[in-house]
């Protein structure tokens, strides 16, 4: 058996015979993998044996779902491919939620699963599951390797597919005998995928048409999505908006793509977006969508969405274009390249009237909450957190009201600063994603703003944070409810709170039992001090804020309503 070798060997002129498991490890190293998240099991033992002395950091979550979200958080924080490993059967099925989460938000992951021996496949062997069958709809691509000679190439292709074009998770299913079999480890060669083409540069004619439309537009709005972050195009977006003088709203996943402290920022649009963003989109004569996909939570009722506007859509995925709304000027390609070309072709316009109108809306309807009472308002906790971290922390979240408040009340200025499951809305994402992000950015302040129910789903990963001494912070906005569900029950089901409250553990004690620091806060006047203490901690720390139980997220575009038909604006005005 060959000794453990590193990527250097693959360039050696002599053909090197290696075991499949060694080829996996060496190819991962060759692909620049520094960290892997994963869990053991019978059919991945050959691989783990080779990982034992590989130059790769290995993080063991407490559950494969957690491992997959960690790889996802790592990928979102860096733009690099996150790697997760699991065993066959239950190990692989535990990845499904994590893969679907990454798929919906276009996050580059490579998942490696063990599989039963090739001669057992199809026989209902112990821990056999049809992993490629189960994961096909939740991956960008997946393959099972049935010949050890395909292994290195398949892994290289997986990294290429995961990270290029519209990124996404790719799963490689590797039967255990393929990990043991030996073959020559071929050096990397040109990836040959005849059915996979990535278009980077936008069509010059389309760009010229877009520029012409922008130059004559009186009420333009840029609507930027997660694609801007994925393509590292934030600088290009800023230069573009600056040069052409355009207001910019972002989607939930686009938060951080445009500095929210800039005056032309309209913050987030959509169901719980700002009134000024939603009004601006509805009144616009030109909507410039960049790396966004017109999801229903963004558009509200499709028929009335931006109905006065011509629509330009810049996206790398041709299938996103005209999927939900009719697009007048599509530009297919990478946002970074297209924005930079487009910037050259646009001209500055004053648009005083339009910016004045927007300023009026901004003044009239800022995000607000009623802070007169004695209770701790969740929005207040986030505002304080933003103040104390100077808006520079990396924020992960669960799913629910707290997630929306984290989007509304923290001010994001950098891409990759906000890490949240937008498309799938996966409760339990926050803690493991924060762990992955902290591993990616050891010096960053990483904070999981979480809800009590979301946190309950994956809280076992606190143990992982403690084991690897990761100084993540958890701000639990504990309302003792599945708050977002309760809000819908309040508004649409006559306040019948069916099954939406949980009996929670004492979270501070629980953190303590895990070996983290736990703090409990139930008075408003203690909030700032608790946050300061939390931020000063050098290890993992959880603060359980007992917040107002029946607070609602406003404004809200109820399902089926038009984007400008927001509920809660009267509440805003009464608070003014």
């Amino acid at each position: 058996m060959s000794k453990n070798s590193t990527s250097g060997d693959s360039a050696a002129p002599q053909p090197i015979i290696k075991q499949g498991s060694q080829i996996i490890v060496d190819t991962l190293v060759e692909q620049g993998v520094e960290i892997i998240f994963g869990y053991l099991g019978g059919v991945v033992l050959p691989l783990f044996d080779k990982l034992y002395d590989a130059p790769i950091k290995f993080i063991i979550p407490r559950h494969e779902q957690g491992g997959c979200h960690m790889a996802d958080g790592y990928a979102r924080a860096t733009g690099k491919v996150g790697v997760v490993v699991a065993t066959s059967g239950p190990g692989a099925t535990n990845l499904v939620t994590g893969l679907a989460t990454a798929m919906m938000d276009s996050i580059p992951l490579v998942a490696i699963t063990g599989q039963v021996r090739t001669d057992l496949i199809g026989n209902d062997a112990f821990q056999e599951a049809d992993t490629t069958g189960i994961t096909r709809p939740v991956t960008k691509h997946n393959v099972i390797v049935k010949d050890v000679r395909d292994l290195a190439r398949t892994i290289r292709e997986a990294f290429y597919i995961a990270s290029s074009g519209r990124p996404g998770p790719v799963l490689i299913d590797i039967p255990v005998d393929m990990q043991i079999a030996e073959c020559v480890h071929e050096p990397p060669s040109h990836v040959k995928l005849p059915g996979y083409k990535v278009r980077t540069k936008g069509h010059a004619k389309q760009i010229a048409m877009a520029a012409a439309a922008i130059n004559v537009s009186k009420r333009p709005v840029v609507y930027a999505g997660g694609g801007v972050i994925i393509s590292n195009a934030s600088d290009e977006l800023r230069k573009f908006a600056e040069k052409a003088h355009l207001p910019v709203t972002t989607t939930f996943l686009g938060l951080g793509a445009y500095d929210q402290n800039r005056p032309e920022s309209l913050d987030m649009l959509g169901m719980h977006g700002s009134a000024y963003a939603n009004y601006a989109v509805q009144e616009s004569d030109l909507l410039i969508a960049v790396g966004s996909r017109f999801e229903d939570r963004v558009t509200g009722k499709l028929k009335t969405f931006a109905s006065k506007a011509k629509i330009i859509h810049i996206d790398i995925d041709p299938a996103s274009i005209s999927k939900n709304v009719h697009v007048h000027i599509p530009v297919v390609g990478d946002a970074k390249a297209i924005l930079s070309d487009l910037t050259k072709a646009v001209e500055y316009r004053d648009r005083t009237e339009w910016f004045d109108q927007i300023a009026t809306w901004k003044e009239k309807y800022p995000f607000r909450y009623d802070d007169k009472g004695a209770e701790i308002k969740p929005q207040y906790v986030i505002e304080e957190l933003c103040r104390l971290t100077k808006g520079e922390a990396l924020i992960a979240t669960g799913v629910g009201q707290h997630q929306m408040w984290a989007a509304q009340f923290y001010r994001y200025s950098h891409p990759r600063q906000f890490i949240s499951s937008g498309g799938l809305g996966t409760m339990g994402f926050g803690l493991p994603a924060a762990i992955g992000a902290q591993l990616a950015c050891p010096d960053a302040t990483v904070i999981d703003i979480d809800g009590d129910s979301s946190f309950n789903m994956t809280l076992t990963e606190l143990s992982t944070a403690v084991q690897y001494k990761l100084p993540i912070k958890i701000c639990l906005l504990n309302n003792g409810y599945m708050g977002m569900v309760r809000q819908w029950q309040e508004l649409f089901y006559g306040k019948r709170y069916s099954c939406s409250s949980l009996e929670n553990p004492d979270f501070a004690k629980l953190a303590d039992a895990f070996g983290a620091v736990g703090i409990s806060v139930d008075k408003k006047e203690d909030v700032a001090a608790a946050l300061e203490k939390m931020l000063a901690e050098t290890g993992p720390c959880l603060v359980d804020f007992k917040v107002a139980r029946e607070e609602n997220v406003w404004p809200m575009v109820a399902s089926g309503k038009s984007l400008h038909e927001m509920d809660g604006l009267d509440i805003f005005e009464s608070m003014a």
Partner: protein, 166 residues
């Protein structure tokens, strides 16, 4: 409206499942699906008949193209194509009725491919309208079984050709 979509796919395990799964997941309506080898051993061709308006069919085309082992997708709508189905049909035919049935078969340019004591098997190939008309014509005699391939199609001018890098 029916559209004929032709897709060249790599000959890899799982491609059919992927295509079928995508149709199901996105609630697209498949009318028929025919898969066969091409002159290139690394490629197969799928001919898919889908029902939907132009928007739906545009999505079908784009979503198909997104599948990694799908190499090329073409929508034949508005193109000059030859689109044929193959049908095997078994029709009840006592020796007395046979001449009458054979006359119908000949009228349609179909072919008797098997004769049993109580039935004959007929093969017919052609556009869907012709196939449907033939089935209607056989119905009064008593149809025992029908097997259809689904449509295959080829553009009259130039069908899509892709040379795969070797």
């Amino acid at each position: 409206m029916k559209h004929i979509i032709s897709a060249l796919v790599q000959n890899k395990p799982g491609v059919l499942a992927h295509v079928a799964g995508m149709f199901a997941a996105r609630a697209f309506n498949i009318d028929s699906l025919a898969v066969g080898r091409t002159e290139d051993p690394e490629l197969s061709r799928m001919t898919i008949v889908v029902i939907g308006d132009d928007r739906v069919v545009e999505q079908v085309r784009k979503q198909l193209a997104k599948i990694i082992p799908v190499v090329k997708v073409q929508d034949f709508a508005g193109k000059d194509v030859v689109a044929h189905d193959l049908l095997l049909l078994s029709v009840a035919a006592t020796p007395e009725k046979r001449p009458e049935i054979v006359a119908v078969v000949e009228m349609f340019g179909a072919k008797v491919v098997d004769i049993g004591p109580k039935s004959v098997m007929v093969e017919i190939c052609g556009p869907e309208t012709k196939i449907e008309a033939f089935i209607d014509a056989c119905r009064p005699y008593g149809i025992k079984d029908v097997v259809r391939t689904g449509t295959v199609a080829m553009g009259r001018q130039a069908n899509i050709k892709v040379k795969i890098e070797k």
